[in-house]
Amino acid sequence: MKRYIIKRLLLIFLTLFGLITVVFLISRVAPGDPARLAAGPDATEEMVEVMRKEFGLDRPLIVQYLSYFKGLASGNLGRSIRTRHNVIDDLVQFFPATFELTVFSLLLAVVLAIPLGVLCAVYRDRFLDHAARVFSVSGMALPMFWLALMLQLFLALKFDFLPLGGRLGLLTEPPTKITHLYLVDSLLTGNWAVFKDALRHILLPAFVLCFPALASIIRVNRAEMLEVLSRDFIVSARAHGISKIRTIGQYALKNALIPTMTMIGLRYGWMLGGTILVETVFDWPGIGLYAVQSAVYSDFQPIIGVTLLIGINFMVANLIIDLIYGILDPRVRYE
């Protein structure tokens, strides 16, 4: 077990190394001139030259590559031209907001999707199943940013039901920083007013972000439940007088959850990708918005930072999922 985790962490490290190489190559081999991009659109030739020297872009590619790694090893992700901060500091500041949004949204999706998936499988080809199928197929086809705008239009602008964007209202003081997750911090300090405000702010973005995940988890869970329900051991459980509810909710579901977990892990990563759209619409101060604003400014270093951070997140999430596998399925051996 311990050896397995170490092996996986090593693999994550190697993959990150590959990822950095890929991103580095793209940025340096790309037809665009990074020095010119970094210098900004209005820069004169001399300024571009200065930039080229400063970033070491006049040196051979391999030297640039090595020095880039040397910087990374000491935690230096470069500087953002737009915010004028070190990228690493920006990431530390913005990541908790994204993490809170993504995890909340994922929990929302799981809590809603798993019972729905089970019900659809049990009532296969009945009304609920068809309705859920229409919902999940269309859920995956909905452009997230557009759904976000439409919900904003109705729930926030027309009916003033939920706030338009941001993490907290303008007049609300953020809670004492413990975990940097507002919902958790306000609960820990017992600050109900802030908790309520944070919850009202997170509901809309989280709902939009979980929409595609909801759709796909329902589908996977339904398909897996159908598969498991047709297996022999379900017949024998019923033949031994185990009640229908128990057979479905316990005997079948635990088997079906195993493949569903994979989808949940994948969805966590895709949600992190989706934050660049949702955070843009809801003005959510996370790394997604940070990446988008940097991309619009052609501010390259922050985007690499965000890419690496999300990559690490995704891979660690998959490792955790694999460990949960072992709890659910006794046949899994970590080697």
């Binding site: 590959g18 991009l37 909905l142 602008l157």
Partner: protein, 315 residues
């Protein structure tokens, strides 16, 4: 197979039973086709998908000749009629430059079709050969290709695409390049897995034992057997890549205004909510309907082509 059966047919050809004989010989094939039609026709959702996709292609094809204001496709400005509500003159209303939203949504079909086709073709062009090579050659070649694929799969596509655009600079061409570069790994995985399992099949071994060449095995045996999963995936990916490109357009790094791209249109329209709601509503609906069509069609294809989901009806 076919060449072998010709002399057999010749023996029976003089009898009137040639046709019945032929039918009997291909009974399993007909059974399959009948089953496919049966499955497809009993799924109204697949049929809806087919209609939507058909309409999408048709509109993309004849769009420029049916729109009421073709000049609104790009930079035309009619300030006198800006932000007019939907009505008999402008079905979907007009935008901040007085351009007809209906015209621009219809013409956006072409842009989206182009984006989707280019991304999928590029992704398949990179992914399928790599997948077959990895699966067929095996060994360190397989390891190398699959590890590189894993690197690309280790991060959500949209983020990596954004990073690539960050390097290349914003624009519709660059966003298509970026999306193509993040879309191919899925095809490598799919084709490599399929090739690996096909290599174990007895008919490949049989072909090898009679001395069939590598190219012959790949093009006659492996590639045709990969087509159905590739069709299913490509059909789904068509919708997904259109969605992703619209997302990039929306955040401002994809297609740039005034190009009639749905995502970019919504990006501008966002500033005119809530009073001028039609401007954002219709391009979004267009994206939704298009992607929905491809998803439903892909779903329908999978139901037909996936032997697993057929089992239930075979019993």
């Amino acid at each position: 197979m076919k060449q072998k059966s010709i002399p057999m047919y010749a023996e029976h050809a003089n009898t009137s039973g040639f046709w019945t004989q032929w039918k009997e010989e291909h009974e399993s094939f007909f059974r399959d086709v009948r089953l496919s039609f049966y499955l497809f026709s009993r799924s109204p959702l697949s049929l809806i998908g087919m209609v939507l996709v058909g309409a999408f292609f048709l509109i993309a094809l004849i769009g420029p000749w049916i729109v009421p204001y073709p000049e609104d496709a790009t930079g035309a400005v009619h300030m006198s009629q800006k932000l007019t509500a939907p009505g008999s003159q402008f079905w979907f209303g007009t935008d901040e430059m007085g351009r007809d939203v209906f015209t621009r949504v219809i013409l956006g079909t072409r842009v989206s079709l182009k984006i989707g086709l280019i991304i999928i073709c590029a992704a398949m062009g990179i992914g399928v050969p790599l997948g077959i090579t990895a699966g067929y050659v095996g060994g360190w070649v397989n390891e190398t290709i699959m590890r590189i694929t894993d690197i690309f799969l280790a991060i959500p596509g949209l983020i990596l695409a954004l990073a690539i655009i960050g390097a290349l600079g914003p624009g519709i061409t660059n966003s298509m390049i970026a999306l193509s570069l993040v879309w191919w790994p899925g095809y490598v995985r799919l084709v490599q897995g399929k090739t690996l399992s096909l290599k174990e099949e007895s008919f490949i071994e049989a072909a090898l034992s009679v001395g069939a060449g590598r190219a012959r095995i790949i093009f006659l045996h492996i590639l045709p057997n990969c087509t159905s999963p590739i069709i299913v995936k490509a059909s789904m990916d068509m919708g997904m890549s259109i969605l992703a490109a619209a997302g990039l357009g929306f955040i401002g790094v994809g297609a740039q205004p005034p190009a009639p791209e749905w995502g970019a249109m919504i990006s501008i329209a966002r500033n005119y909510l809530p009073n001028w709601w039609w401007y954002a509503l219709f391009p979004g609906l267009a994206i939704f309907v298009t992607v929905l069509g491809f998803n439903l069609l892909g779903d329908g294809f999978r139901d037909i082509l996936d032997p697993q989901s057929r089992g239930y009806y075979r019993e």
